[in-house]
């Protein structure tokens, strides 16, 4: 414990900017020398995609090589550069503190995106994993509004996702592509990227309107009826899509134009996090929390409980629809089977693993379940024993999830870290 404490102390003066610089250095090392020198001399067949996890599990002989790769490419450069660049990054962060917070946050986000882009750009598999993880983040954060902040148990997220995915897919197929079913494009395909946000919003709106079918009956009373009504809704949507042959029925629908490259998805994810953070810290969000804790008391404090719950529910559904639209355009193929019980189990696992009532928790949950799922892929079936076991242990030891009831404090996150301050608050 002593060593760990000392280690933490040593790096406590590194601001966020410094960590970014360190990771940038690591990614650049991987980008320029990763394949030609480092993995070649370590005897690895190619650059380890997810920190060597796949290689380690597939061929145990490669474990030392993969570990050495991680050490040389990631651990040492990140720590060294982050620590050594303190004398530049701390004044830099202090300079940024003088700017308005939003500008500082945007600059940090741009840096973050640049690093992510470089890291993912090394191969296509990474790009796909990053894209799907970002979509999962939107889903998890949006279900946290309902299952966490509102304190209900909703099972209809795959249904909302399906609504968003199908509505936005149909729109892009009708508007921007020459398709067998929907005929020639109504608008020039070049307009696609510009109108895509609109398409996503329409998809989200469809999901929000669909959510009324759940919200109107279930918020007339309290209790567990939301769970079953939302489950019924999910089955209804899936079954309806299966029976509509014009949109492919059970065979699914393909050929969506590739309108969702990494920057677009990143932008929407950040937008979603920002908007939902503002929502849950707004007066409406506080009202939602009082409704969760004690509905009768909230009612007597002039909170319009029904309206609050409906708004929050539609809001969560809207973002699930947007996530569905992005999901459809990442895979450029959807079928009703993608939006079934399995997806529900996955979404619930992500949100309860990460933590309720916390956006950071949702992000942690989405990223860890996605990355774990990918990294443990070589274990095939055993993966489905290990991941559930991890989740059960998390539930037993931290019943509200890993990080719960915590809000993002952007100012604290981005500020410069001086030695002087460390002494004041250990």
């Amino acid at each position: 414990m002593g060593i760990l404490q000392k280690f933490k102390q040593m790096f406590s003066t590194v601001p966020m900017l410094g960590w970014f610089l360190g990771i940038l250095a690591a990614v650049l090392i991987e980008y320029f020398w990763g394949y030609d020198y480092i993995s070649y001399y370590l005897g690895l067949p190619k650059i380890p995609v997810l920190f060597g996890a796949l290689i380690m599990l597939k061929e145990p002989v490669m474990i030392p090589g993969a570990l050495a790769y991680d050490l040389i490419v990631y651990v040492i450069p990140v720590l060294a550069v982050a620590k050594l660049s303190c004398f530049i990054t701390n004044p830099g962060a202090a300079l940024l503190e003088k700017l308005p917070l939003w500008l500082s946050a945007v600059i940090h986000l741009v840096c973050f995106y640049a690093i992510l882009h470089l890291w993912a750009g090394i191969n296509d598999y990474r790009v796909l994993v990053v894209k799907l993880t970002l979509v999962s983040i939107i889903l998890t954060v949006s279900i946290n509004v309902i299952n966490g902040y509102q304190g209900e148990f909703s099972c209809s997220h795959p249904g909302f996702m399906a609504l968003g995915a199908y509505v936005s897919s149909i729109l892009t197929l009708v508007l921007f592509t020459n398709d067998k079913i929907f005929g020639t494009a109504l608008l020039p395909p070049a307009l696609g990227p510009y109108l895509f946000p609109l398409v996503l919003v329409v998809g989200g709106a469809a999901a929000a309107i669909g959510s009324l079918a759940v919200a109107i009956p279930s918020f007339r009373t309290r209790g567990d009826y939301l769970a079953i009504i939302s489950l019924a809704f999910m089955f209804i949507v899936k079954s309806a899509v299966e029976n509509l042959n014009i949109i492919g029925g059970a065979r699914g629908m393909g050929g969506q134009p590739d309108l969702a490259p990494l920057p677009v998805i990143f932008f929407w994810t950040m937008l979603c996090i920002w908007v939902i953070h503002n929502f849950v810290t707004s007066i409406l969000g506080k009202a939602l929390n009082t409704v969760r804790d004690d509905e009768a008391a909230a009612e007597s404090m002039t909170v319009k409980t029904r309206k609050t719950k409906m708004t929050a529910f539609m809001f969560g559904a809207f973002w699930a629809g947007v996530a569905g639209g992005l999901f459809a355009h990442v895979l450029t193929y959807i079928n009703p089977g993608m939006f079934s019980i399995n997806r529900l189990a996955e979404i619930l696992a992500m949100v309860y693993f990460g933590g309720l009532n916390s956006i950071v928790g949702s992000i942690v949950g989405a990223v860890s379940i996605n990355v774990l799922g990918e990294a443990l892929r070589p274990l095939e079936l055993f993966k489905w024993i290990i991941i559930p076991l991890i989740l059960i242990f998390v539930m037993i030891f931290r019943p509200y999830g890993l990080i719960s009831f915590t809000e993002i404090n952007a100012k604290k996150l981005l500020e410069a870290k001086h030695k002087r301050q460390q002494g004041v608050s250990p």
Binding site: R222, I228, L231, F235, P388
Partner: protein
């Protein structure tokens, strides 16, 4: 007159089919409903307990048939299979309660639900790893005899499924109403917090509830294996969710309601499939459930609760 009789027979035939299907749903959802009523948690592992129970039944049946076939009459083998399977499956239920749900008794209910979901996935995967993806077929425990009564066909298997389900439900009803254990369960479903103060140990009642539920699910599994003899590690998933629907539709903790809702589900599914294309089955079934819950939000026999449920 002839077409009228024909169509009457057709309807009667479908009623028999619906009763058979409804019996499975009813027996499974009763187990679900008991846990839901007593401990107030969504036992999402129930469908997979049913699946494991079916596999245990398969193992016992194969073993007994291999050893005693020809030595004892088939009904004895059948009865022995049911009793042994029920006993073994009950321990699965107890295990789930002790390992998964007991540490989470003070936790939010949703966490327990997620644990149940994960236990279910572990069961599925374990079975898949142990037995492989090859589909097994349940051995018939008795010869199928086809009876032809006044225009409708009924096999002895079908009749047996319906009768045994009804008997099980009556037995359970007697257990709940007449025994001390049953009284403790009823009390616990009435007030979760006050009952432990009266000297009723929740650490006995909760595993007992799970054991009874799992035992019922296992019997349903054997009956299911007689009607649809293909075994599949994922067979419990959809049935589990349907049991969940039926349990809540029946009203919180109401055994009667769960059984009724189970039969209703069976009837809706069979009759939708006879009138509409069978692909619309889920769509119409769940739409009807949505409409019912809109007008009766507490389910069929649900009680009004003034306080918000513990979440």
């Amino acid at each position: 007159m002839e077409p009228l009789i024909e169509s009457f027979n057709y309807i009667l035939q479908n009623i028999i089919n619906a009763l058979q299907r409804g019996s499975f749903y009813a027996v499974i959802s009763i187990g679900y409903s008991m846990v839901y009523g007593v401990l107030m948690l969504f036992n999402f592992a129930h469908g997979d307990i049913f699946m494991v129970g079916t596999y245990i039944g398969f193992g016992i049946a194969t073993l007994l048939l291999a050893t005693f076939s020809g030595l004892v009459p088939p009904p004895v083998i059948f009865l022995a299979t049911v009793v042994i399977t029920m006993f073994l499956a009950s321990w699965i239920g107890v295990f789930v309660e002790v390992a998964g749900y007991r540490p989470l008794r003070q936790a939010p209910r949703a966490s327990a639900a997620i644990t149940g979901l994960m236990i279910g996935i572990i069961f599925e995967t374990t079975i898949l790893i142990m037995l492989g993806a090859k589909r097994l077929s349940f051995p018939p425990l008795m010869e199928t005899v086809n009876y032809h009564i006044g225009g409708i066909y009924i096999t002895n298997v079908k009749a047996m499924i319906i009768i045994i389900s009804l008997l099980l439900m009556l037995a359970l009803h007697a257990f709940i109403q007449k025994t001390k254990w049953g009284m403790a369960m009823r009390a616990m479903s009435y007030d979760f917090l006050a009952v432990p103060l009266m000297g009723v140990s929740i650490n006995i009642i909760a595993p007992l509830t799970f054991a009874v539920g799992a035992g019922l699910a296992a019997v349903a599994g054997i009956l299911y294996g007689q009607a649809y003899p293909i075994l599949d590690p994922y067979m419990g998933v959809l049935l589990g969710w349907k049991a969940f629907v039926a349990a809540i539709l029946g009203g919180r903790g109401s055994i009667k309601g769960a059984a009724l809702a189970g039969y209703l589900l069976g009837f809706i599914e069979i009759f939708v499939a006879t009138v509409f294309p069978s692909t619309l089955r889920d769509f119409i079934a769940y739409s009807i459930i949505l409409v019912i819950l809109t007008f009766r939000p507490r389910g069929f026999f649900g009680m009004e609760h003034s306080t918000k449920l513990r979440l």
